[in-house]
């Protein structure tokens, strides 16, 4: 068990999972750098963390889809000990399939942008010889399904990216953790009918991530049942899989 490396940079800090993560890290005594497109919207969260946990909180603006990540990374007050990439965009499959610009946004927010940003941070952590990189990917990236393969393929790319980065950094002192939350009850999934046994609360996701980081895990599914379900889904022969309505 090791204490998470401080400060913790959370990218995409406006989401429900990110807010729960910020609370969990602050409760562990970590300083926080919260990055979001609109950092002003995080002011209430920041003051809450400062009062509750006496956490040092810095708010910074960040657009993950920016073509060049260097200006953002060099503007950070310090190179973080831990970076958590929470940014993501579910999008709507039908819209993404019909409109290239919409698909491009989903791809940029779930793969291109996060990968570019993490590469830039990883280079610096590698040079320093320490750090933790945590990426929130998705079970949707394990097999492309007709109902959400634009999002799924971008997450598949992100999962592969994280696994390769882990391999590359394994002996460089930098821990890379891939998180596959499964269903989470958040604003992103509001209005969907989600099976309760497979659905986590944002606080559970945050706790699972911190535990996995402290134990040095590589891949974490928040609800263990998902690991089994995805193993089955991956094992279905393509000839059968293509005929299923998923």
């Amino acid at each position: 068990m090791t204490q998470p490396l401080s400060p913790v940079l959370i990218i995409g800090a406006g989401s429900d999972i990110a807010r729960a993560l910020a609370r969990a890290y602050a409760a562990r005594g970590c300083a926080l750098i919260l990055a979001a497109r609109d950092p002003a919207a995080l002011a209430t969260l920041a003051s809450d963390l400062e009062i509750r946990h006496r956490a040092a909180v810095t708010l910074v603006a960040c657009d993950v889809t920016a073509a060049d990540p260097e200006p953002f990374v060099t503007s950070l007050p310090v190179l973080p000990g831990t970076v958590v990439m929470v940014a993501g965009l579910l999008g709507d499959q039908a819209e993404s399939a019909a409109d290239a610009a919409v698909a491009e946004r989903v791809m940029a927010t779930n793969y291109n942008g996060p990968a570019r940003l993490l590469l830039s941070l990883a280079r610096r952590m590698e040079a320093r010889g320490s750090g933790a990189i945590i990426g929130i990917s998705s079970v949707a990236g394990e097999r492309g399904r007709g109902s959400n393969f634009i999002y799924g393929s971008a997450k598949a790319g992100f999962t592969a990216f994280l696994s390769g980065l882990r391999n590359h950094l394994a002996r460089k002192g930098v821990h890379v953790l891939t998180v596959k939350p499964g269903f989470v009850a958040t604003r992103m999934t509001e209005g969907m009918e989600l099976p309760p046994r497979l659905t986590a609360r944002p606080e559970q996701v945050a706790e699972a991530i911190l535990r996995a980081q402290e134990k040095g895990r590589d891949v974490v599914y928040v609800k263990p049942l998902w690991r089994m379900i995805m193993a089955i889904i991956r094992a279905v022969p393509e000839g059968v899989f293509k005929k299923l309505s998923l």
């Binding site: 429900d16 919207a41 209430t44 969260l45 003051s47 809450d48 009062i51 509750r52 946990h53 604003r187």
Partner: protein
């Protein structure tokens, strides 16, 4: 499906759980009829509305802490338990706390909650500097004793019927330790209990646990618990360097709904007698948590009343009528033979400015009853006795009273006028406000 803490009644309600103040304001405008709900600790139907319930669970941020002035500013959904956890180690406590810490600041204002220090400190509303109230017409108004005073007076104790409390600022209480110096006193009957209360007015905290099943000479047999925040020098030497340390005790949870037999007359009588004899009179240093929140250590304790749920009854009688009125109430309860697990008697201080604020100078009695037709009939008799003695019932506990009981609130007409002036009639409503015809 939602219910209050008493698990009766239950109603299917459309809910919304906004994540920002702006979204909350929009929800107030969107729903034709809605009621805010904090942590669901009012007992009856005060936070139920089939047409719309606004959950404030995601609006619980602490905004500023001014340690020089001892003032906390926070969102309405902030839990008192979170505030105490964050601030007690820094020497701050709530100026007024109800018997559970699992309440929101918005809920504390809406019920104008009182605590064991009401005789000296008054209700929670008296410690507010201001509150920001969102109205269904989109306005957000800062209300205080100096701004929008009528709306402020209607909101403190107004059961959420004046709008959504987005933010509030209130004064904190300085404490030196996380301990209470407690004095336990036995009162063999009701007269003795009154005498002790009247002579204990200088104590910051006072409350009596009363055995509701005793009759005749032992009617009102009770244990009084008086308390003061322990000063640092009152701690044992070894503990003085860490005055806010407390024993970490994992809360227990009630795992099942109890069967009805568990609360029939005999077991409760046995428990009450045992409890009375076990508590040693005298002084002791006790942890602050079990002193203020004995039932919070038992999560979901409401399940001991089983699936049918329970109703809590709490009334207050004016000082001059207290002795005669309480005797009649206790006689009716003892004669009813309906087990009451927890009965509490407390001396209250002066009435507050809140139009529907519950406390008045006098005595308040609170107890639980398992939901049953017999008990509901008994509560109607208690309402009648309360009314005959010029008292009133506590809306945060109520689940079943008739509209006529609102006569206990002489400023109801002013409350109604505020509702009309700010366009709230029909927009902010609960099953309780409809049942009591608050209008």
């Amino acid at each position: 499906m939602l219910s209050g803490w008493g698990r009766w009644p239950i109603a299917r309600c459309a809910v919304t759980e906004p994540g920002t103040s702006a979204a909350a304001g929009a929800a107030l405008a969107d729903f034709t009829s809605i009621i805010p709900r904090g942590n669901g600790r009012s007992y009856g139907d005060a936070s139920l509305n089939p047409d719309g319930v606004l959950l404030t669970s995601r609006l619980g941020h602490m905004l500023t802490l001014d340690e020089a002035a001892g003032v906390l500013e926070c969102e309405g959904g902030t839990l008192l338990s979170d505030i105490i956890e964050a601030l007690l180690p820094r020497g701050w406590f709530a100026p007024v706390t109800p018997g559970t810490r699992f309440v929101t600041v918005g809920g504390m204002i809406a019920a104008d909650v009182h605590g064991k220090n009401h005789h000296g400190a008054g209700g929670f509303g008296g410690h507010l500097l201001w509150l920001d109230l969102a109205l269904p017409d989109g306005r957000v108004l800062r209300c205080s004793p100096a701004e929008h005073e009528e709306l402020f007076a209607a909101t403190c104790g107004g059961m959420g019927l004046t709008g959504l409390i987005l933010r509030a600022a209130f004064r904190l209480l300085r404490v030196e330790t996380a301990r209470i110096r407690q004095r336990t006193v036995r009162a063999p009957d009701l007269d003795a209990a009154f005498a002790i209360f009247e002579s204990a007015q200088d104590w910051t905290y006072s409350v009596a646990w009363i055995d509701g099943l005793q009759t005749d000479a032992r009617l009102g047999r009770s244990l009084l618990f008086l308390g003061e925040h322990a000063r640092a020098e009152e701690l044992p030497l070894a503990e003085r360097s860490r005055p806010f340390a407390r024993a970490a005790r994992a809360p227990k949870r009630v795992p099942i709904d109890f069967p009805a037999i568990a609360l029939s007359r005999l077991p409760v009588r046995a428990f009450n007698t045992l409890y009375y004899q076990r508590q040693r009179p005298g002084d002791a240093l006790v942890d602050l948590y079990p002193y203020f929140y004995p039932l919070d250590a038992l999560l979901e304790w409401n399940r001991i009343y089983g699936r049918r749920g329970f109703v809590q009854y709490q009334c207050v009688l004016p000082l001059a009528e207290s002795r005669a009125g309480m005797r009649r109430l206790l006689e009716a309860i003892a004669r009813g033979g309906n087990a009451s697990f927890l009965a509490v008697l407390k001396r209250m201080g002066a009435e507050s400015f809140g139009h529907l604020s519950f406390p008045m100078e006098g005595y308040t009695l609170a107890m639980d009853f398992p939901t049953s037709t017999g008990n509901l009939a008994l509560l109607d008799r208690l309402d009648a006795i309360t009314a005959e003695h010029g008292g009133r019932i506590y809306l945060a506990k109520d689940a079943r009273a008739a509209p006529a009981t609102m006569r206990g609130y002489p400023r109801l007409e002013r409350f109604r006028a505020v509702r009309r002036d700010y366009g709230l009639v029909g927009r902010l409503e609960s099953l309780q406000s409809q049942r009591l015809e608050i209008g």
